[in-house]
Protein backbone atom coordinates (compact mmCIF):
# COMPACT_ATOMS: atom_id res chain seq x y z
CA UNK A 1 0.00 0.00 0.00
CA UNK A 2 2.73 2.44 0.98
CA UNK A 3 4.60 1.72 -2.27
CA UNK A 4 2.29 3.98 -4.30
CA UNK A 5 2.93 6.86 -1.93
CA UNK A 6 6.68 6.19 -1.71
CA UNK A 7 7.00 6.09 -5.51
CA UNK A 8 5.15 9.38 -5.91
CA UNK A 9 7.15 11.01 -3.15
CA UNK A 10 10.54 10.20 -4.61
CA UNK A 11 10.09 10.38 -8.40
CA UNK A 12 9.22 13.66 -10.12
CA UNK A 13 7.70 12.11 -13.25
CA UNK A 14 6.04 9.28 -11.34
CA UNK A 15 3.60 6.78 -12.81
CA UNK A 16 0.50 8.82 -11.91
CA UNK A 17 1.91 11.92 -13.59
CA UNK A 18 2.97 9.83 -16.60
CA UNK A 19 -0.56 8.39 -16.90
CA UNK A 20 -2.06 11.87 -16.73
CA UNK A 21 0.24 13.07 -19.48
CA UNK A 22 -0.28 9.98 -21.63
CA UNK A 23 -4.02 10.61 -21.48
CA UNK A 24 -3.49 14.10 -22.89
CA UNK A 25 -3.83 16.00 -19.62
CA UNK A 26 -2.10 19.30 -18.92
CA UNK A 27 0.05 19.83 -15.81
CA UNK A 28 0.84 23.11 -14.06
CA UNK A 29 3.60 23.25 -11.46
CA UNK A 30 3.63 25.67 -8.56
CA UNK A 31 6.10 26.58 -5.85
CA UNK A 32 4.18 27.28 -2.69
CA UNK A 33 1.29 26.08 -0.55
CA UNK A 34 -0.52 29.41 -1.08
CA UNK A 35 -1.50 28.42 -4.63
CA UNK A 36 -5.08 27.09 -4.82
CA UNK A 37 -4.99 23.62 -6.41
CA UNK A 38 -8.74 23.83 -6.93
CA UNK A 39 -8.47 26.39 -9.77
CA UNK A 40 -6.42 23.93 -11.84
CA UNK A 41 -8.36 20.87 -10.83
CA UNK A 42 -11.57 22.66 -11.87
CA UNK A 43 -9.94 23.38 -15.25
CA UNK A 44 -9.09 19.70 -15.74
CA UNK A 45 -5.38 20.49 -15.21
CA UNK A 46 -3.22 18.52 -12.79
CA UNK A 47 -1.78 20.86 -10.13
CA UNK A 48 1.73 19.73 -9.28
CA UNK A 49 3.82 21.14 -6.46
CA UNK A 50 7.38 21.69 -7.66
CA UNK A 51 10.23 20.06 -5.78
CA UNK A 52 13.98 20.08 -6.09
CA UNK A 53 14.58 16.40 -5.40
CA UNK A 54 17.16 14.62 -7.48
CA UNK A 55 19.24 17.73 -8.27
CA UNK A 56 22.82 16.46 -8.27
CA UNK A 57 24.55 19.55 -9.58
CA UNK A 58 24.03 23.26 -9.12
CA UNK A 59 25.75 24.77 -12.15
CA UNK A 60 22.53 26.24 -13.57
CA UNK A 61 21.06 27.26 -10.20
CA UNK A 62 24.30 28.92 -9.10
CA UNK A 63 24.69 30.74 -12.42
CA UNK A 64 21.40 32.61 -11.97
CA UNK A 65 21.08 32.87 -8.19
CA UNK A 66 24.65 33.10 -6.85
CA UNK A 67 25.85 31.14 -3.84
CA UNK A 68 24.30 32.88 -0.82
CA UNK A 69 20.65 32.00 -1.10
CA UNK A 70 18.34 29.14 -0.19
CA UNK A 71 19.11 26.03 -2.21
CA UNK A 72 15.45 25.06 -2.77
CA UNK A 73 14.65 27.54 -5.59
CA UNK A 74 18.14 26.90 -7.00
CA UNK A 75 17.38 23.18 -7.20
CA UNK A 76 14.06 23.93 -8.91
CA UNK A 77 15.77 26.04 -11.57
CA UNK A 78 18.53 23.46 -11.91
CA UNK A 79 16.00 20.73 -12.66
CA UNK A 80 14.09 22.99 -15.05
CA UNK A 81 17.33 23.82 -16.85
CA UNK A 82 18.19 20.12 -17.11
CA UNK A 83 14.81 19.44 -18.69
CA UNK A 84 13.49 17.41 -15.77
CA UNK A 85 10.33 19.53 -15.74
CA UNK A 86 9.69 19.35 -19.46
CA UNK A 87 6.42 17.55 -18.74
CA UNK A 88 4.95 20.78 -17.32
CA UNK A 89 2.57 22.92 -19.38
CA UNK A 90 2.85 25.85 -17.03
CA UNK A 91 4.43 27.17 -13.85
CA UNK A 92 3.13 29.44 -11.09
CA UNK A 93 5.68 31.23 -8.93
CA UNK A 94 4.69 33.02 -5.73
CA UNK A 95 6.56 35.37 -3.39
CA UNK A 96 6.41 32.73 -0.65
CA UNK A 97 9.73 34.23 0.43
CA UNK A 98 12.31 36.48 -1.20
CA UNK A 99 14.28 33.52 -2.54
CA UNK A 100 11.18 32.08 -4.18
CA UNK A 101 10.28 35.51 -5.51
CA UNK A 102 13.68 35.64 -7.16
CA UNK A 103 12.96 32.30 -8.82
CA UNK A 104 10.49 34.18 -11.01
CA UNK A 105 13.22 36.55 -12.26
CA UNK A 106 15.87 33.86 -12.58
CA UNK A 107 13.63 31.39 -14.40
CA UNK A 108 12.50 34.08 -16.85
CA UNK A 109 16.15 35.04 -17.47
CA UNK A 110 17.08 31.39 -17.96
CA UNK A 111 14.21 31.25 -20.47
CA UNK A 112 15.73 34.17 -22.37
CA UNK A 113 19.04 32.30 -22.56
CA UNK A 114 17.48 28.92 -23.42
CA UNK A 115 13.88 29.23 -24.53
CA UNK A 116 12.99 25.62 -23.79
CA UNK A 117 13.64 26.20 -20.06
CA UNK A 118 10.55 28.40 -19.72
CA UNK A 119 7.11 26.83 -20.06
CA UNK A 120 4.68 28.62 -22.35
CA UNK A 121 2.49 29.53 -19.38
CA UNK A 122 4.53 31.22 -16.65
CA UNK A 123 2.62 33.23 -14.10
CA UNK A 124 3.60 35.25 -11.04
CA UNK A 125 0.88 34.85 -8.44
CA UNK A 126 1.29 37.46 -5.75
CA UNK A 127 0.27 36.70 -2.17
CA UNK A 128 -0.14 39.43 0.48
CA UNK A 129 1.80 39.24 3.73
CA UNK A 130 -1.07 40.39 5.91
CA UNK A 131 -4.38 38.82 6.82
CA UNK A 132 -6.57 41.92 6.77
CA UNK A 133 -9.86 42.68 5.00
CA UNK A 134 -8.15 44.82 2.39
CA UNK A 135 -5.49 42.18 1.68
CA UNK A 136 -8.18 39.53 1.27
CA UNK A 137 -10.01 41.79 -1.18
CA UNK A 138 -6.78 42.21 -3.12
CA UNK A 139 -6.03 38.46 -3.00
CA UNK A 140 -9.50 37.62 -4.34
CA UNK A 141 -8.75 39.86 -7.33
CA UNK A 142 -5.34 38.22 -7.75
CA UNK A 143 -6.94 34.77 -7.67
CA UNK A 144 -9.47 35.92 -10.27
CA UNK A 145 -6.53 37.16 -12.36
CA UNK A 146 -4.93 33.71 -12.06
CA UNK A 147 -8.18 32.01 -13.07
CA UNK A 148 -8.57 34.31 -16.07
CA UNK A 149 -4.97 33.69 -17.15
CA UNK A 150 -5.46 29.92 -16.97
CA UNK A 151 -8.70 30.21 -18.96
CA UNK A 152 -7.05 32.34 -21.62
CA UNK A 153 -3.88 30.30 -22.02
CA UNK A 154 -5.55 26.89 -22.04
CA UNK A 155 -8.56 28.19 -23.98
CA UNK A 156 -11.13 26.93 -21.48
CA UNK A 157 -13.83 28.27 -19.21
CA UNK A 158 -13.78 27.44 -15.53
CA UNK A 159 -17.29 27.52 -14.10
CA UNK A 160 -18.25 28.11 -10.47
CA UNK A 161 -19.78 24.65 -10.47
CA UNK A 162 -16.45 23.10 -11.49
CA UNK A 163 -14.64 25.02 -8.74
CA UNK A 164 -17.23 23.92 -6.18
CA UNK A 165 -16.68 20.33 -7.27
CA UNK A 166 -12.90 20.73 -6.96
CA UNK A 167 -13.34 22.27 -3.51
CA UNK A 168 -15.29 19.18 -2.43
CA UNK A 169 -12.58 16.83 -3.70
CA UNK A 170 -9.76 18.79 -2.07
CA UNK A 171 -11.65 19.23 1.19
CA UNK A 172 -12.15 15.47 1.27
CA UNK A 173 -8.38 15.05 0.83
CA UNK A 174 -7.72 17.52 3.65
CA UNK A 175 -10.07 15.64 5.96
CA UNK A 176 -8.35 12.35 5.12
CA UNK A 177 -4.90 13.84 5.76
CA UNK A 178 -6.15 15.26 9.06
CA UNK A 179 -7.44 11.80 9.92
CA UNK A 180 -3.93 10.43 9.26
CA UNK A 181 -2.60 13.17 11.54
CA UNK A 182 -4.92 12.03 14.31
CA UNK A 183 -3.69 8.44 13.92
CA UNK A 184 -0.11 9.68 14.28
CA UNK A 185 -1.05 11.20 17.62
CA UNK A 186 -2.01 7.80 19.04
CA UNK A 187 0.06 6.38 21.91
CA UNK A 188 1.08 3.41 19.80
CA UNK A 189 1.68 5.11 16.49
CA UNK A 190 1.30 2.87 13.43
CA UNK A 191 3.03 4.94 10.76
CA UNK A 192 6.51 6.40 10.77
CA UNK A 193 7.09 10.10 10.19
CA UNK A 194 8.98 9.23 6.99
CA UNK A 195 6.00 7.32 5.59
CA UNK A 196 3.57 10.04 6.71
CA UNK A 197 5.66 12.59 4.81
CA UNK A 198 5.63 10.31 1.75
CA UNK A 199 1.82 10.38 1.88
CA UNK A 200 1.71 14.19 2.02
CA UNK A 201 4.25 14.48 -0.79
CA UNK A 202 2.22 12.08 -2.90
CA UNK A 203 -0.80 14.35 -2.39
CA UNK A 204 1.08 17.12 -4.19
CA UNK A 205 1.44 15.16 -7.43
CA UNK A 206 -1.18 12.40 -7.66
CA UNK A 207 -4.56 13.47 -9.10
CA UNK A 208 -6.58 14.19 -5.99
CA UNK A 209 -9.47 11.78 -6.61
CA UNK A 210 -7.01 8.88 -6.97
CA UNK A 211 -5.05 10.11 -3.96
CA UNK A 212 -8.18 10.26 -1.82
CA UNK A 213 -9.05 6.69 -2.65
CA UNK A 214 -5.48 5.47 -1.95
CA UNK A 215 -5.41 7.31 1.38
CA UNK A 216 -8.83 5.97 2.40
CA UNK A 217 -7.42 2.49 1.87
CA UNK A 218 -4.24 3.26 3.84
CA UNK A 219 -6.16 4.71 6.78
CA UNK A 220 -8.33 1.59 6.92
CA UNK A 221 -5.17 -0.53 6.94
CA UNK A 222 -3.64 1.50 9.74
CA UNK A 223 -6.84 1.38 11.80
CA UNK A 224 -7.09 -2.39 11.58
CA UNK A 225 -3.36 -3.15 11.62
CA UNK A 226 -1.53 -4.56 14.59
CA UNK A 227 2.01 -3.35 13.91
CA UNK A 228 2.86 -0.42 16.17
CA UNK A 229 5.95 1.69 16.72
CA UNK A 230 6.63 1.67 20.44
CA UNK A 231 9.39 2.66 22.84
CA UNK A 232 10.65 5.58 20.80
CA UNK A 233 10.90 9.26 21.59
CA UNK A 234 8.08 11.21 19.98
CA UNK A 235 9.28 14.18 17.95
CA UNK A 236 7.69 17.05 16.11
CA UNK A 237 9.31 18.52 12.99
CA UNK A 238 8.99 22.25 12.35
CA UNK A 239 10.57 24.80 10.02
CA UNK A 240 11.59 25.25 6.38
CA UNK A 241 10.12 23.30 3.51
CA UNK A 242 11.19 19.69 3.74
CA UNK A 243 10.26 17.27 1.00
CA UNK A 244 13.07 14.82 1.78
CA UNK A 245 11.81 11.58 3.24
CA UNK A 246 15.42 10.59 3.94
CA UNK A 247 15.88 13.53 6.32
CA UNK A 248 12.95 12.31 8.41
CA UNK A 249 14.33 8.77 8.24
CA UNK A 250 17.69 10.07 9.47
CA UNK A 251 16.01 11.90 12.34
CA UNK A 252 13.93 8.89 13.34
CA UNK A 253 16.70 6.28 13.18
CA UNK A 254 15.74 3.46 15.52
CA UNK A 255 15.17 5.62 18.59
CA UNK A 256 12.59 8.21 17.56
CA UNK A 257 9.40 8.65 15.60
CA UNK A 258 8.13 11.91 14.14
CA UNK A 259 4.48 12.05 15.22
CA UNK A 260 3.60 15.60 14.20
CA UNK A 261 4.82 18.47 12.06
CA UNK A 262 4.13 22.03 11.13
CA UNK A 263 5.68 22.10 7.67
CA UNK A 264 4.40 23.43 4.37
CA UNK A 265 5.02 19.97 2.87
CA UNK A 266 3.04 18.72 5.84
CA UNK A 267 0.26 19.77 8.15
CA UNK A 268 0.26 23.39 6.97
CA UNK A 269 -0.52 22.19 3.44
CA UNK A 270 -3.87 20.66 4.36
CA UNK A 271 -4.94 22.48 7.51
CA UNK A 272 -8.51 23.77 7.45
CA UNK A 273 -11.19 23.48 4.79
CA UNK A 274 -12.37 25.81 2.06
CA UNK A 275 -15.85 27.15 2.84
CA UNK A 276 -18.43 25.61 0.55
CA UNK A 277 -20.93 28.45 0.59
CA UNK A 278 -20.73 31.61 -1.45
CA UNK A 279 -18.59 32.70 -4.35
CA UNK A 280 -15.96 29.96 -4.81
CA UNK A 281 -12.95 32.10 -5.81
CA UNK A 282 -13.48 34.28 -2.74
CA UNK A 283 -13.77 31.15 -0.58
CA UNK A 284 -10.48 29.84 -1.99
CA UNK A 285 -8.70 33.15 -1.44
CA UNK A 286 -9.95 33.24 2.15
CA UNK A 287 -8.77 29.72 3.02
CA UNK A 288 -5.38 30.04 1.35
CA UNK A 289 -4.62 33.46 2.80
CA UNK A 290 -5.99 32.94 6.31
CA UNK A 291 -5.26 29.31 7.08
CA UNK A 292 -1.68 28.71 6.16
CA UNK A 293 0.52 29.40 9.13
CA UNK A 294 3.77 30.35 7.42
CA UNK A 295 6.22 32.83 8.98
CA UNK A 296 5.98 34.82 5.75
CA UNK A 297 2.79 36.30 7.20
CA UNK A 298 3.30 39.43 9.28
CA UNK A 299 2.17 39.84 12.83
CA UNK A 300 0.88 36.39 13.69
CA UNK A 301 3.74 34.82 15.63
CA UNK A 302 1.57 34.25 18.71
CA UNK A 303 -1.01 32.40 16.63
CA UNK A 304 1.66 30.16 15.15
CA UNK A 305 3.15 29.43 18.58
CA UNK A 306 -0.30 28.54 19.87
CA UNK A 307 -0.78 26.06 17.01
CA UNK A 308 2.58 24.44 17.84
CA UNK A 309 1.75 24.13 21.53
CA UNK A 310 -1.65 22.58 20.78
CA UNK A 311 -0.06 20.04 18.43
CA UNK A 312 2.68 19.24 20.94
CA UNK A 313 0.08 18.48 23.57
CA UNK A 314 -2.23 16.54 21.27
CA UNK A 315 0.57 14.32 19.96
CA UNK A 316 2.32 13.95 23.36
CA UNK A 317 5.54 15.20 21.81
CA UNK A 318 8.78 14.68 23.80
CA UNK A 319 10.86 17.14 21.80
CA UNK A 320 10.70 19.52 18.85
CA UNK A 321 13.17 19.69 15.97
CA UNK A 322 13.32 23.18 14.49
CA UNK A 323 15.09 22.89 11.16
CA UNK A 324 15.77 25.44 8.51
CA UNK A 325 17.44 25.50 5.14
CA UNK A 326 20.63 27.56 5.12
CA UNK A 327 19.90 31.25 4.34
CA UNK A 328 16.20 30.81 5.19
CA UNK A 329 15.52 34.12 6.95
CA UNK A 330 11.88 33.38 7.70
CA UNK A 331 12.25 30.04 9.44
CA UNK A 332 15.80 30.71 10.65
CA UNK A 333 14.63 33.68 12.70
CA UNK A 334 11.26 32.26 13.74
CA UNK A 335 12.90 29.01 14.88
CA UNK A 336 15.04 31.03 17.27
CA UNK A 337 11.96 32.59 18.86
CA UNK A 338 10.11 29.27 18.91
CA UNK A 339 13.08 27.72 20.68
CA UNK A 340 13.11 30.46 23.30
CA UNK A 341 9.37 30.23 23.99
CA UNK A 342 8.99 26.45 23.80
CA UNK A 343 12.02 25.82 26.04
CA UNK A 344 10.57 28.32 28.52
CA UNK A 345 7.40 26.23 28.48
CA UNK A 346 9.45 23.12 29.28
CA UNK A 347 9.45 21.68 25.78
CA UNK A 348 12.96 20.58 24.68
CA UNK A 349 13.99 21.87 21.26
CA UNK A 350 16.83 21.23 18.84
CA UNK A 351 17.69 23.65 16.07
CA UNK A 352 19.28 22.34 12.89
CA UNK A 353 20.45 24.29 9.89
CA UNK A 354 20.80 22.19 6.76
CA UNK A 355 21.24 22.37 3.04
CA UNK A 356 18.34 21.52 0.74
CA UNK A 357 19.14 18.92 -1.89
CA UNK A 358 20.99 15.64 -1.70
CA UNK A 359 21.19 14.77 1.99
CA UNK A 360 24.68 15.74 3.14
CA UNK A 361 26.34 16.23 6.54
CA UNK A 362 24.43 13.20 7.79
CA UNK A 363 27.13 12.43 10.38
CA UNK A 364 26.88 15.83 12.00
CA UNK A 365 23.09 15.93 11.86
CA UNK A 366 22.98 12.42 13.35
CA UNK A 367 25.32 13.46 16.17
CA UNK A 368 23.05 16.34 17.12
CA UNK A 369 19.92 14.21 16.93
CA UNK A 370 21.57 11.53 19.09
CA UNK A 371 22.63 14.12 21.66
CA UNK A 372 19.11 15.57 21.67
CA UNK A 373 17.54 12.13 22.18
CA UNK A 374 20.04 11.46 24.98
CA UNK A 375 18.93 14.75 26.53
CA UNK A 376 15.31 13.57 26.35
CA UNK A 377 16.18 10.23 27.96
CA UNK A 378 17.80 11.60 31.09
Amino acid sequence: MMDAFRESSTILFNSHVQDWKTNGGSIVGYTCSYVPDEIFSAAGILPYRLRGIGAKEMNIGDAYFGPFICSLPKCLLQLAGEGKYDFLDGVIVTPGCDSMRRLDDCWRKAGEDRAETLPSFFFHYAVPHKTADYSLKWFIEETQRLKAAVEKHFNITITDEQIHEAIDIYNEGRLLLSCLDALRCATDVAISGADALAVVLASTTIPRKIFNSLLTELIAQIETGTEKITGRKRLMLVGSANDDVELVRLIEGDKAVVVADNLCFGARFYADLVEKDGEPVAALAKRYLFHNDCPRMFGDYKGRLKILKEKIERAAVDGVILQNIRFCDLHGSENGIFERDLEAAGIPCLRIEREYGPLVETGRIRMRIDAFLERLET
Partner: protein, 264 residues
Amino acid sequence: MITAGCDVGSLTSKAVIMKDNRIVAREVILSRIKPAESALTVMESALQQAGMTLKDINFCVGTGYGRDRITFVQEAVSEITCHARGARWLLPTVKTIIDIGGQDCKAMRIDNEGKIVKFITNDKCASGTGRFLEVMAKIIGVTLDDLGGLSARAKAPITVANACTVWVQADVIQHLNDGIAAEDIGAGINNAMASRMAVLANNIGLERDLCMTGGVAKNAGVVIALEKLLGMTIKRIKKVDPQLVGALGAALIAGDKCERRAAS
Protein backbone atom coordinates in the same frame (compact mmCIF):
# COMPACT_ATOMS: atom_id res chain seq x y z
CA MET B 1 34.11 -3.02 37.56
CA ILE B 2 36.19 -2.36 34.45
CA THR B 3 34.77 -0.06 31.79
CA ALA B 4 36.14 1.58 28.68
CA GLY B 5 35.41 4.47 26.38
CA CYS B 6 36.54 4.77 22.79
CA ASP B 7 36.30 8.11 21.00
CA VAL B 8 36.94 7.93 17.26
CA GLY B 9 37.34 11.50 16.04
CA SER B 10 38.16 12.86 12.62
CA LEU B 11 41.79 13.64 13.51
CA THR B 12 42.57 11.48 16.53
CA SER B 13 41.16 8.39 18.20
CA LYS B 14 41.23 8.07 21.96
CA ALA B 15 40.66 5.27 24.46
CA VAL B 16 40.30 5.32 28.24
CA ILE B 17 40.03 2.27 30.50
CA MET B 18 38.69 2.68 34.04
CA LYS B 19 38.75 0.29 36.95
CA ASP B 20 36.58 1.08 39.96
CA ASN B 21 36.22 4.71 38.89
CA ARG B 22 39.97 5.21 38.35
CA ILE B 23 41.70 5.70 35.03
CA VAL B 24 44.08 2.78 34.49
CA ALA B 25 44.99 3.33 30.84
CA ARG B 26 44.67 6.02 28.18
CA GLU B 27 45.79 6.33 24.60
CA VAL B 28 45.62 8.81 21.70
CA ILE B 29 46.49 7.93 18.10
CA LEU B 30 46.01 9.62 14.74
CA SER B 31 42.80 8.39 13.15
CA ARG B 32 42.92 6.23 10.06
CA ILE B 33 40.51 6.32 7.16
CA LYS B 34 38.42 3.48 8.58
CA PRO B 35 36.95 4.24 12.04
CA ALA B 36 36.73 0.54 12.94
CA GLU B 37 40.49 0.16 12.43
CA SER B 38 41.27 3.30 14.45
CA ALA B 39 39.10 2.06 17.29
CA LEU B 40 40.71 -1.38 17.39
CA THR B 41 44.24 0.02 17.25
CA VAL B 42 43.75 2.61 19.99
CA MET B 43 41.89 0.20 22.25
CA GLU B 44 44.47 -2.55 21.80
CA SER B 45 47.17 -0.10 22.80
CA ALA B 46 45.24 0.99 25.90
CA LEU B 47 44.51 -2.62 26.82
CA GLN B 48 48.19 -3.44 26.50
CA GLN B 49 49.05 -0.60 28.91
CA ALA B 50 46.51 -1.94 31.40
CA GLY B 51 47.63 -5.54 30.92
CA MET B 52 44.10 -6.52 29.92
CA THR B 53 42.20 -7.95 27.00
CA LEU B 54 38.79 -6.93 25.62
CA LYS B 55 37.23 -9.78 27.58
CA ASP B 56 38.20 -8.03 30.81
CA ILE B 57 36.04 -5.00 29.98
CA ASN B 58 32.57 -5.22 31.53
CA PHE B 59 31.07 -2.49 29.37
CA CYS B 60 32.44 -0.33 26.60
CA VAL B 61 30.87 2.80 25.09
CA GLY B 62 31.87 4.26 21.74
CA THR B 63 31.67 7.92 20.80
CA GLY B 64 32.96 10.38 18.19
CA TYR B 65 32.02 10.60 14.52
CA GLY B 66 33.01 6.96 14.01
CA ARG B 67 31.02 5.63 17.00
CA ASP B 68 28.57 3.58 14.98
CA ARG B 69 31.37 1.72 13.20
CA ILE B 70 33.21 0.51 16.29
CA THR B 71 32.79 -3.23 16.43
CA PHE B 72 33.57 -4.00 20.08
CA VAL B 73 31.37 -1.51 21.97
CA GLN B 74 28.08 -2.37 23.66
CA GLU B 75 26.59 1.04 22.98
CA ALA B 76 27.27 4.26 21.08
CA VAL B 77 26.67 7.66 22.70
CA SER B 78 27.05 11.11 21.12
CA GLU B 79 30.23 13.03 21.87
CA ILE B 80 28.17 15.90 23.30
CA THR B 81 26.86 13.73 26.12
CA CYS B 82 30.28 12.11 26.62
CA HIS B 83 32.22 15.38 26.85
CA ALA B 84 29.67 16.74 29.32
CA ARG B 85 29.93 13.60 31.47
CA GLY B 86 33.72 13.55 31.39
CA ALA B 87 34.06 17.27 32.15
CA ARG B 88 31.68 17.07 35.11
CA TRP B 89 33.62 14.13 36.57
CA LEU B 90 36.83 16.13 36.34
CA LEU B 91 35.33 19.44 37.48
CA PRO B 92 32.11 18.83 39.45
CA THR B 93 31.21 22.54 39.49
CA VAL B 94 31.30 22.91 35.72
CA LYS B 95 28.15 24.19 33.99
CA THR B 96 29.40 25.13 30.54
CA ILE B 97 31.74 23.07 28.39
CA ILE B 98 33.41 24.17 25.18
CA ASP B 99 34.86 21.38 23.08
CA ILE B 100 36.95 22.09 20.02
CA GLY B 101 37.79 18.99 18.11
CA GLY B 102 39.45 18.27 14.80
CA GLN B 103 36.52 19.07 12.54
CA ASP B 104 33.87 20.59 14.72
CA CYS B 105 33.37 22.66 17.80
CA LYS B 106 30.60 22.49 20.34
CA ALA B 107 29.38 24.32 23.38
CA MET B 108 27.10 22.70 25.92
CA ARG B 109 25.44 23.75 29.12
CA ILE B 110 24.51 21.31 31.88
CA ASP B 111 22.33 21.65 34.96
CA ASN B 112 23.14 20.80 38.59
CA GLU B 113 22.54 17.11 37.91
CA GLY B 114 24.82 17.08 34.91
CA LYS B 115 21.91 16.86 32.46
CA ILE B 116 22.44 18.66 29.17
CA VAL B 117 20.07 21.60 28.90
CA LYS B 118 21.40 23.22 25.75
CA PHE B 119 24.07 22.60 23.16
CA ILE B 120 25.22 23.99 19.87
CA THR B 121 27.68 22.83 17.23
CA ASN B 122 29.26 24.61 14.29
CA ASP B 123 27.40 23.86 11.12
CA LYS B 124 28.90 26.18 8.56
CA CYS B 125 32.40 24.93 7.77
CA ALA B 126 35.71 23.73 9.20
CA SER B 127 36.76 27.25 10.15
CA GLY B 128 37.06 27.45 13.93
CA THR B 129 38.09 23.83 14.38
CA GLY B 130 41.30 22.00 15.14
CA ARG B 131 41.87 21.39 11.45
CA PHE B 132 42.02 25.18 10.92
CA LEU B 133 44.85 25.48 13.47
CA GLU B 134 46.64 22.48 12.00
CA VAL B 135 46.65 24.01 8.51
CA MET B 136 47.85 27.39 9.81
CA ALA B 137 50.62 25.91 12.01
CA LYS B 138 51.97 24.05 9.01
CA ILE B 139 52.17 27.23 6.92
CA ILE B 140 53.83 29.24 9.68
CA GLY B 141 56.28 26.38 10.16
CA VAL B 142 55.59 25.52 13.79
CA THR B 143 54.16 22.43 15.41
CA LEU B 144 50.56 22.43 16.56
CA ASP B 145 51.84 22.23 20.14
CA ASP B 146 53.98 25.35 19.68
CA LEU B 147 51.26 27.43 18.01
CA GLY B 148 49.57 28.25 21.32
CA GLY B 149 52.78 29.64 22.83
CA LEU B 150 53.23 32.19 20.02
CA SER B 151 50.46 34.43 21.43
CA ALA B 152 52.45 35.18 24.60
CA ARG B 153 55.41 36.44 22.56
CA ALA B 154 53.42 38.46 20.02
CA LYS B 155 53.84 42.24 19.80
CA ALA B 156 51.27 43.18 17.15
CA PRO B 157 48.94 40.27 16.33
CA ILE B 158 47.53 40.34 12.81
CA THR B 159 43.78 40.59 12.29
CA VAL B 160 42.25 37.63 10.51
CA ALA B 161 39.05 38.97 9.00
CA ASN B 162 38.30 36.08 6.72
CA ALA B 163 36.18 33.14 7.84
CA CYS B 164 37.31 30.73 5.15
CA THR B 165 40.23 28.42 6.01
CA VAL B 166 41.46 28.43 2.42
CA TRP B 167 41.44 32.23 2.15
CA VAL B 168 43.01 32.69 5.57
CA GLN B 169 45.76 30.39 4.33
CA ALA B 170 46.37 32.82 1.44
CA ASP B 171 46.34 35.80 3.87
CA VAL B 172 48.89 34.11 6.13
CA ILE B 173 51.21 33.41 3.20
CA GLN B 174 50.91 37.07 2.23
CA HIS B 175 51.84 38.16 5.79
CA LEU B 176 54.83 35.80 5.84
CA ASN B 177 56.04 37.24 2.53
CA ASP B 178 55.62 40.74 3.96
CA GLY B 179 58.02 39.77 6.74
CA ILE B 180 55.49 39.73 9.61
CA ALA B 181 56.83 37.77 12.59
CA ALA B 182 55.52 34.24 13.09
CA GLU B 183 54.50 35.18 16.66
CA ASP B 184 52.20 37.94 15.40
CA ILE B 185 50.69 35.70 12.75
CA GLY B 186 50.24 32.84 15.23
CA ALA B 187 48.60 35.13 17.77
CA GLY B 188 46.23 36.43 15.07
CA ILE B 189 45.30 32.86 14.17
CA ASN B 190 44.66 31.96 17.83
CA ASN B 191 42.57 35.11 18.32
CA ALA B 192 40.51 34.36 15.22
CA MET B 193 39.86 30.85 16.48
CA ALA B 194 38.76 32.19 19.87
CA SER B 195 36.54 34.79 18.26
CA ARG B 196 34.66 32.18 16.21
CA MET B 197 34.23 29.96 19.23
CA ALA B 198 33.00 32.89 21.37
CA VAL B 199 30.12 33.53 18.96
CA LEU B 200 29.05 29.92 19.28
CA ALA B 201 29.51 29.76 23.06
CA ASN B 202 27.57 32.97 23.69
CA ASN B 203 24.67 31.43 21.82
CA ILE B 204 23.89 28.94 24.56
CA GLY B 205 24.10 31.39 27.45
CA LEU B 206 27.27 30.87 29.49
CA GLU B 207 27.12 29.79 33.12
CA ARG B 208 30.02 29.44 35.55
CA ASP B 209 32.07 27.29 35.86
CA LEU B 210 33.32 27.08 32.33
CA CYS B 211 35.87 24.61 31.01
CA MET B 212 37.33 23.53 27.71
CA THR B 213 37.82 20.03 26.35
CA GLY B 214 39.28 18.66 23.13
CA GLY B 215 42.73 19.08 21.68
CA VAL B 216 42.48 22.86 21.24
CA ALA B 217 42.13 23.26 25.04
CA LYS B 218 45.90 22.68 25.09
CA ASN B 219 46.48 25.82 23.01
CA ALA B 220 47.12 28.53 25.64
CA GLY B 221 46.82 31.30 23.06
CA VAL B 222 43.26 30.30 22.12
CA VAL B 223 42.20 29.70 25.75
CA ILE B 224 43.44 33.10 27.00
CA ALA B 225 41.94 34.95 24.03
CA LEU B 226 38.63 33.15 24.60
CA GLU B 227 38.63 34.10 28.28
CA LYS B 228 39.01 37.75 27.30
CA LEU B 229 36.22 37.57 24.74
CA LEU B 230 33.81 35.75 27.07
CA GLY B 231 34.79 37.73 30.14
CA MET B 232 34.98 34.51 32.11
CA THR B 233 37.76 32.34 33.48
CA ILE B 234 38.12 28.99 31.78
CA LYS B 235 38.87 26.32 34.37
CA ARG B 236 41.84 24.24 33.28
CA ILE B 237 41.55 20.48 33.20
CA LYS B 238 44.68 19.12 34.77
CA LYS B 239 43.92 15.54 35.77
CA VAL B 240 43.94 14.25 32.19
CA ASP B 241 44.74 15.41 28.69
CA PRO B 242 41.66 17.52 27.66
CA GLN B 243 41.70 15.60 24.40
CA LEU B 244 40.71 12.47 26.34
CA VAL B 245 37.59 13.91 27.98
CA GLY B 246 35.21 12.42 25.39
CA ALA B 247 36.65 8.93 25.82
CA LEU B 248 36.68 9.41 29.58
CA GLY B 249 33.01 10.43 29.52
CA ALA B 250 32.25 7.35 27.42
CA ALA B 251 33.99 5.13 30.00
CA LEU B 252 32.01 6.80 32.80
CA ILE B 253 28.74 6.35 30.93
CA ALA B 254 29.72 2.71 30.44
CA GLY B 255 30.01 2.50 34.23
CA ASP B 256 26.56 4.09 34.67
CA LYS B 257 25.04 1.63 32.25
CA CYS B 258 26.80 -1.29 33.88
CA GLU B 259 25.43 -0.28 37.28
CA ARG B 260 21.95 0.21 35.90
CA ARG B 261 22.12 -3.19 34.28
CA ALA B 262 23.25 -4.82 37.53
CA ALA B 263 20.48 -3.06 39.46
CA SER B 264 17.79 -4.28 37.08
